[in-house]
Amino acid sequence: MNENIPLLSIRNLSTHFFVEEGVVKAVEDVSFDVAEGKTLAVVGESGCGKSVTALSVMGLVPESAGRVVDGQILFRGDDLLKKTESQMRRIRGNEIAMIFQEPMTSLNPVFTIGNQIVEAVKLHQGIKGEHAWSHAVEMLRKVGIADPARRVREYPHQMSGGMRQRVMIAMALCCWPSLLIADEPTTALDVTIQAQILELLRELQKQQNMSVMMITHDLGVAAENADDVAVVYASNIVETASVAAIFEEPLHPYTQGLLRSMPRLGQKMERLESIGGSVPNPLHFPQGCKFHPRCPIGVSDQRCRTQQPQLREVAPGRCAACFHAKGYGD
């Protein structure tokens, strides 16, 4: 494997949804890389298009409503968008696995968890019968489920939320994927459970040497788990950088605002800083820089109001999409 080629490379991806009221540009001109063995955190607020990006990679954008209109998704150099359905099926769950936010609804309630894991094992690994089941038990043990031989015969509703997310992880990892897409894996969980799951993910990533694309809205989660961070605002990537850099010196005003508005433990202040206004409706994005109405600089800058800044490398290893970012030029 060529070291220079990232495992997953997304180039100018655009995914649109066509609804009665118009076109929802859920993902617009998004590019980023996920390096081999590394974790990329895609951070953004709800509705900014981070989950749709993940679904686009998997080829699971609901056909009836939306489709990828432009761009490339290069996985080990091959464009996933050009693959046939059956080729994609061989990749899904095998090379690229995914876990979802709601472990409650993401597991099929009417099959035992064993059944659901074995299904994927049989499909991709060609392991049959008893072996597949023992593999499933092994996976469950690996994700820290006590008494897996018994649990494998249970149904999802017999488990707690944390357990279910562990099962989801076991299911995703049972075929040794090289890329794991984790779509808000801990949002629905309590902090103590979240800590457990994140710990588990870190451990397994190390063990299996896989890449992780972690989608989250929680900067804290990103800070603790990611190597690189991509910040998404209103369907666009506004900033990418290594995790250390982004927390050290955020370049985009949105990232800055986000970091500053978070109440921090042990640092009580009189007042929180906040970003004014609210997230724009994806049907009616503002002209120019989409952040400009909420931006302390952009709101009065003519260029921000009319022109959309492109994501551009501003320093080695980091990009930003803001005219006023340090090193953006112009």
Partner: protein, 331 residues
Amino acid sequence: MSQNGKNLVEVKDLKTYFPVRKGMLKRTVGHVKAVDGVSFKIESGKTLGLVGESGCGKTTVGRSMLRLTKATSGEVFFQGHEVFKESRAGLKRLRRNMQYIFQDPYGSLNPRMTVGSIIAEPLRVHSVGSPEQRCENVNEILKRVGLSSDHARSYPHEFSGGQRQRIAIARALVLEPDFVICDEPVSALDVSIQSQIINLLQDLQRDMRLTYLFIAHDLAVIEHISDYVAVMYLGRIVEYTSAKRLYESPLHPYTKALISAIPESKPIKDKQRIVLDGEVPSPSNPPLGCPFHPRCPVAEARCRHEVQSLADVGTETEHLVACFRALEGEK
């Protein structure tokens, strides 16, 4: 707890159980002890933060206090009135001064009513003022929460989550109450909006001399807004102290774990964190002894069958904890 007479609200040994029915005749075979003996006081003008994981009973405490959920036993005093013993009319009177802000800004606003009539509803129910006056009140409170009076004609679904929460706050405050229970008012909001609402709540508290019971699962938010914090676990308060002290020197192992579990907002490698094993037990079948003992990293033999009630560790600031080891360690 401080014994001065400024306590606006006092909760004594509140218990709220939900029956579990099973079997042929749907007999009650047990109880989900959602709230199992909770006591606290809130001084006038202060904020008590109530923090805990989902299912620990913090919301039930809030709802029981307002009699939105029927409590099994206990007493709640509000401005000297015993809430649970009030008549229907008395309760209605009390409710003028006790308001509730709900978690879900999408679910708590009636989608079929205009914002104006949603906010005017409390005024109308309590027959405050003439229609014109009410209208003025509505406009005024709208401005106060950062909306314009034009918004009164719109419907909730035209607003974003943050704006809706502002409407909900306006509804709670239009009667100018003394006490507001904020039930996770920001947890359903986007990160960039949360701080707006928190700031708003703080401003209003200052301007209108409000007393808050602030319920949340996010310790950082709680720390920011509260004067005192009570940590709940499985229907009980396990630790109670001032916000400052709680973060500086948490005593209960659960509190420690909770604080440690919060992701840092800075990438710190190799942070030593306490990761708790297992999950919160079911409140219908809580473990014997200290409810936290199955997950407690420092549990001893006695924790398995004895329970330490909430006791003051005897420091300068009031600091109560329900743990043998913590108490002994401090003394």
